[in-house]
Amino acid sequence: MSSERLGEFIKKVFTDGDFKQAFLSDPNNVMDKFGLGKQAKTAILSIGVVAIAGATDVTRVLAVVDPTQIWFG
């Protein structure tokens, strides 16, 4: 799991308004330019660009990634 670049990417989406807008407008292009790997891009797109940009209730994002909530906790 290579996550250094992904961490920087998510932080930028959450703290840089212009970057967030660019990501929402053209997610593939922005992710490519940022150098995200294929796995990270696929994961983000499978969850949903709007959701990853923080514009969706986070509990709904949780429901996508962990629909059964059965393992731990």
């Binding site: 799991m1 998510i10 932080k11 499978s46 986070v58 962990d66 059965i70």
Partner: protein, 356 residues
């Protein structure tokens, strides 16, 4: 089913209720049959043991009731993982029930130890048990789990395979204990993301890997297939733990969260790494400084983590693990159709789509 049964899903009252439950990945009717088999096996094991009735009662109470602590109706998924994997590969699951029972007892023991280690005495207080009794019960659960494995012989499973199942349970348990031990040695605020993920693989990953590997061992001799399902289980466990970390960072009860306990999890490690200026100083003061975390500090830390994208970052990593789990399964040589029940039970079927 009898009161106190481990499998507590209430049958849905209408078609739409049923559809909703199925959409959530559960299969009430089918799993009820499997659950009854495992419940019956556990009940027989406890009853036939030569233990004191008071101990037997404590074991039953813990194993059957512990999944209702959160007041929802969720059930232990562990036995189903073993049974679904076995069925996906060979088309049958009944002969794997003793192994699924062993997994359930094994995880029940681990859950009880976790509560003791986390200082969560809700169950003990509610039922009037001491910590010493809980530790004793953990030992009994582990031993009953070993006995459960021997019942595979009654199902005509080959002795060689029974030995392999025992070896997997033991080695997985030691790996999980090693992960727990390493976590105790970590100083708060002094663990890298790579180290944390390695610990998750050893703890959560080892248990799900074990459940899947055992199910595969009871279905085939093909080492490649067995390895594929074991890796699938490991990825699934890591994904589940990361999702749990994310959930815990935003929704735990005040005073019970990972923040309040200064427990290093991925969102917190991410936050400590990504925060700047006063927010970084604040987070470090919480996780590396002395003293308790007040509700106000907990709330502010949570706000900072959410604002930095810590929850979303953790969920993306969890999703990557889920994708890898699916990839592994697709390359196993077993059709997706055969794996449908397994995938549905863990929320990896096509019914679960993104938010767009």
């Amino acid at each position: 089913m009898s009161p106190g049964c481990w499998r507590s899903l209430t049958p849905p009252k209408s078609g739409s209720d049923r559809a909703e439950i199925l959409q959530c990945g559960f299969q009430p009717v089918y799993q009820e049959k499997q659950a009854e088999c495992v419940t019956s096996e556990i009940g027989a094991l406890v009853a036939s043991s030569r233990g004191d009735p008071a101990l037997q009662n404590m074991l039953r109470t813990w194993v059957f009731d512990r999944d209702r602590k959160g007041s929802d109706e969720r059930q232990s998924p562990w036995p189903f993982l073993t049974l679904h994997v076995c069925e996906a590969i060979c088309g049958a699951w009944e002969h794997a029930v003793p192994a699924a029972t062993a997994i359930e007892l094994f995880v029940a023991a681990a859950d009880l130890l976790d509560d003791i280690e986390d200082g969560d005495y809700e169950f003990l207080v509610e039922h009037g048990y001491s910590i010493a009794q809980a530790i004793n019960a953990v030992a009994a659960l582990l031993m009953l789990g070993q006995e459960a494995v021997t019942h595979l012989l009654d199902k005509k499973v080959r002795p060689r395979t029974v030995i392999s199942v025992t070896q997997v349970l033991v080695s997985s348990g030691v790996v999980a204990c090693s992960g727990q031990h390493a976590e105790f040695e970590c100083k708060a605020g002094d663990i890298s993301e790579e180290e944390y993920v390695r610990l998750v693989e050893m703890k959560s990953g080892a248990l799900t890997e074990c459940a899947c590997r055992v199910g595969a061992l009871l279905a085939t001799d093909d080492k490649r297939i067995i390895s594929s399902y074991a890796l699938f289980g490991k990825k699934l466990g890591v994904a589940g733990q990361l999702a749990n970390d994310a959930r815990s960072s935003i929704s735990s009860r005040p005073g019970q969260s990972d923040i309040a306990r200064k427990k290093m999890t991925l969102p917190i490690i991410y936050g400590l790494k990504q925060a700047d200026g006063p927010e970084a100083t604040f987070l470090r003061s919480i996780f590396t400084g002395p003293g308790d975390v007040t509700p106000e500090m907990e709330s502010e830390a949570r706000r900072i983590l959410v604002a930095l994208g810590a929850v979303h970052y953790t969920l993306v990593l969890a999703q990557m693990e889920r994708q890898e789990a699916l990839d592994v399964l697709e390359s196993s040589g077993i059709s997706i159709e055969a794996n449908a029940r397994l995938l549905s039970s863990v929320g990896l079927d096509k019914g679960h789509t993104g938010l767009g």
